[in-house]
Amino acid sequence: MTHPTSDDSIRTGPEGGMTDVQDSTTATGASNTEVMGTEATGAPGSGSQVELAGQYENPGLPAHVYRRSDIDPKAATRREREVATFFGLSTLGTVLFIVAYFAIKPAGKSGDELLSQVGLSTKLLGLGLGLALFCIGAGAIHWAKTLMPDDEVITPRKPLRSSDEDRAEAVAALRDGAAGAGMGRRKLIRNSLLGALAPLGLLAIIPLRDLGPLPGAALTGTWWTPGKRLVSDPQGRPLKASDIPIGGVVHVLPEGIENAEQPLAEEGKATVLVIRLAPDDIQDAKERRWSVDGIVAYSKICTHVGCPVGLYEQQTHHLLCPCHQSTFDVTRDCAVIFGPAARSLPQLPLDVDSSGYLVAREDFHEPVGPSFWERGER
């Protein structure tokens, strides 16, 4: 049978047994109509809802479907065992974690042995921890879903508006407080409080100054200077033009960059890809002017977001950035032919010094890498 468990909620469920299902649904339907009625009076604006409520009969809740464990004691026992199995697995996981923690002490002599022991330990600890935590949750959910009470509960919505007495009381309390504090009378206190509150925001802004010094000119220039030799990265060997065959590629840094104040920051800007093309393949006049016998040098820092561009295809002369697939055509001054990069890669003008080694004629003519606010102001 249906019976209200509290003033405003109605339970239907298996307490009444199978035969009462029909009754309980009808009763629920009736109470539901009431709920909708109160809602409609509480919000007079929703006139259409009132009309709809009158126009259609409230179908009420669908019939309660009983679970197998509600009807069949054997099924309930089976569910009980399943829940217990989950909890048992969780205990096993805890034991596995503790055993693995103490049994596997990575103490291999060789690096490979040590790493494979660490690997085994990681896997077993993870498996144990996963089993221990997941199975507690899974068991609890299975328990709640199959064995705990399965009644539908309806709680009607309460009006949000406070009663008129409560509202009047609150307003009176505010008025009393304001009069007692004398906000209108004691102007000195009010104004000095405002003066104290207003600059509080500065406390949030001032510490931002510690974010670091401004980059200054660091973004516009690199370690390359006129006459600086090109050396291979990472071997540090200076290069002659004859060292590089057509179709050859060398990853290059300026000589002596390891002595810079911040070598990694400087390498990140100055790193260059040297490619030798057949001289006839170069289609751009500036590119040819800045090359030596078909050897060209381009910044390896992508103009999109600064990834190292290094995937050179010898036959198509495409230079591909692995991060976002920006593709540059080396025969046409590294113009962008695909992808999100907005500008060509900056070219490093090359020359040969008196000993025959490849050198930079001068620094890049534009900042390398991605865009930044002040890029155009030079």
């Binding site: 790493l115 291979s232 290069l239 995937l311 010898q314």
Partner: protein
């Protein structure tokens, strides 16, 4: 009309067909015969590699190399290896190039596409050596490396790793798993490539790969790189499954598909009504 001159087999078939003209399976039988004839003609006319026919050669002679070249390569590379619209000239590519291209099964190419792939090797080592000798005789080029050149003895693995990471890893991946290039081309995996073929690829620059000549990556650098690659193959993975060591792409895919999939599965289970 021409009945007396028709070959006897065809005459018999035609006779059989006309006798059973009304039979409902006649069109099916005809179709099958046509298909069989086309297939037979195809297998008879398609060029086959002369591997079996020339398997008996014992000596590396230029004549044998030239003969193999003419039978298997000249269609695309020209009768004198001067090249054509279908294949580049082989004058001056060196023995190393032939040993790499034929020794990995890339040549003879099955078809021209974005990239010519490695496949089953079609020739015996002796045949490859004679073709390499013939091509090397046409013009100077990189030679096949000796065992000494690719030996890992006294190689500096850490240094090899540094050189590999700066010069090779952007295409071939940090663990040699390979990676994609533009428009269907790709850098192949190096996990099963032999030391000799790695060396030859560096000195010759096959297909999209640039040339890493001995003047820029010295023979010692090359031995270090090869030793590093061999070491990475047997390295254990302390963090769990390696996922092919492909980096963030596979890790992300597994995280999103397996991890999120499991979470969604749990959510569906939580919301489902018990029976």
């Amino acid at each position: 009309m021409s009945r007396p001159t028709t070959p006897s087999v065809l005459r018999r078939v035609l006779g059989a067909v006309s006798r059973r003209r009304r039979h409902r399976f006649a069109p099916v039988v005809l179709l099958f015969m046509a298909l069989a004839a086309t297939g037979g003609a195809y297998s008879a006319f398609v060029p086959t590699n002369d591997a079996q026919a020339s398997a008996g050669f014992g000596n590396q002679t230029l004549a044998e190399g030239r003969s193999l070249f003419l039978k298997n390569c000249a269609t695309c590379h020209g009768l004198n290896a001067e090249g054509s619209s279908d294949g580049p000239t082989l004058v001056g590519v060196g023995a190393a190039s032939v040993d790499f291209q034929v020794g990995t099964g890339r040549m003879p190419a099955r078809e021209l596409g974005a990239q010519i792939e490695a496949k089953r090797v079609e020739f015996t080592p002796t045949e490859i050596a004679s073709m390499a000798a013939y091509i090397a005789s046409l013009g100077p080029g990189p030679a096949i490396p000796s065992k000494q050149d690719v030996s890992a003895v006294n190689a500096d693995i850490a240094r090899g790793g540094e050189i590999y990471l700066r010069n090779c890893s952007m295409c071939h991946n940090f663990a040699g798993a390979g990676g994609a290039l533009t428009r269907g081309k790709y850098a192949p995996s190096l996990k099963k490539t032999t030391a000799k073929h790695i060396y030859e690829a560096m000195v010759t620059g096959p297909q999209s790969m640039p040339v890493f000549a001995n003047t820029t990556i010295t023979p010692q650098d090359k031995r270090d790189i090869i030793a590093f690659l061999k070491t990475t193959r047997s390295e254990p993975t302390p963090g769990g499954a390696s996922l092919g060591k492909l980096g963030p792409v596979t890790e992300g895919a597994v995280g999103w598909l397996v991890g999120l999939g499991a979470l969604i599965g749990c959510a569906v289970w939580l919301g489902a009504k018990a029976r």
